[in-house]
Symmetry: C2
Subunit: 125 residues, 2 copies
DNA sequence: TCATTTTGACTACAAATGTAATCTTAAAAT
DNA sequence: ATTTTAAGATTACATTTGTAGTCAAAATGA
């Protein structure tokens, strides 16, 4: 599985916002959230290409970069990995701990209910 | 916040199992799960002391190590951090994604229901 | 008592990571 | 046409991490 460092993940975020994208666009997008030097971002892009999390096509002398992995896939895999390591693969302890100190919205509750309903329908079947 | 590497976290796991503990005990516990050389574990223990995740008391020429941070605290903080970075701080997307590919137990479901109930009681109040 | 083992302290070293700077070449500006 | 700029390639360098090895002192065994 492709592993991304935190900085690399930030670059992926910028790329997931829209692609293919030129390095100048990625740098532009990241300028909102970070103070990174453009050289830094180029370095990170290069590492992402090496890791095959990103690929590019040449448009003349410019490169058009695209992610090779989806945000959903990546974040979910990482989340599962953490849940495995920290909570023996069970999600409920995480949710109850989380709920104790974080604000849950009505939408969160609705989505949790939907998950439960789906599970119960599955059981009855 | 104290940040632990993966290897350091494994050592903490061994220490959380029971403490204070001598390095020989920690090494013994870790021998079940890893192939680490005892020197490696000593190094990691030293780094944990430096990071102040662990402290020790001298018992003669031996050290008795103890964690300074709780497992619950640490894992929950890291989880929140991940939820923040990956899901804008909302837990529901994680839960629904998780539920799609992982097995949920009846216990998980019960705990999720309890979280929901608590939230709803809070709202009505 | 002398050799051996064990503990903790210190040192080692490659890979990954954060954070750029320099070099080369082509395009853009004057 | 020459200078300046911008992109990508290559190089740099400190810190963190994984994974030990060496050294000194104390304890233990023969």
């Amino acid at each position: 599985m492709i592993e991304l460092s935190k900085a690399e993940f930030e670059v992926m975020e910028a790329l997931w916002q829209g692609h293919p994208a030129k390095s100048s666009e990625i740098i532009e997008r990241l300028s909102d959230d970070t103070q990174w030097h453009d050289k830094t971002i180029k370095t990170l892009l290069g590492r992402l290409v090496k890791k095959q999390a990103v690929n590019f096509e040449k448009q003349g002398r410019l490169y058009q970069y695209s992610p090779t992995i989806g945000r959903e896939d990546y974040t979910l895999k990482q989340s599962k990995n953490l849940i495995q390591r920290f909570f023996s693969g069970r999600i409920a302890p995480l949710v109850s701990g989380f709920a104790k100190t974080e604000q849950l919205s009505q939408q969160d509750i609705n989505e949790l209910k939907a998950v439960i309903k789906e599970w119960e329908d599955q059981q009855g079947k």
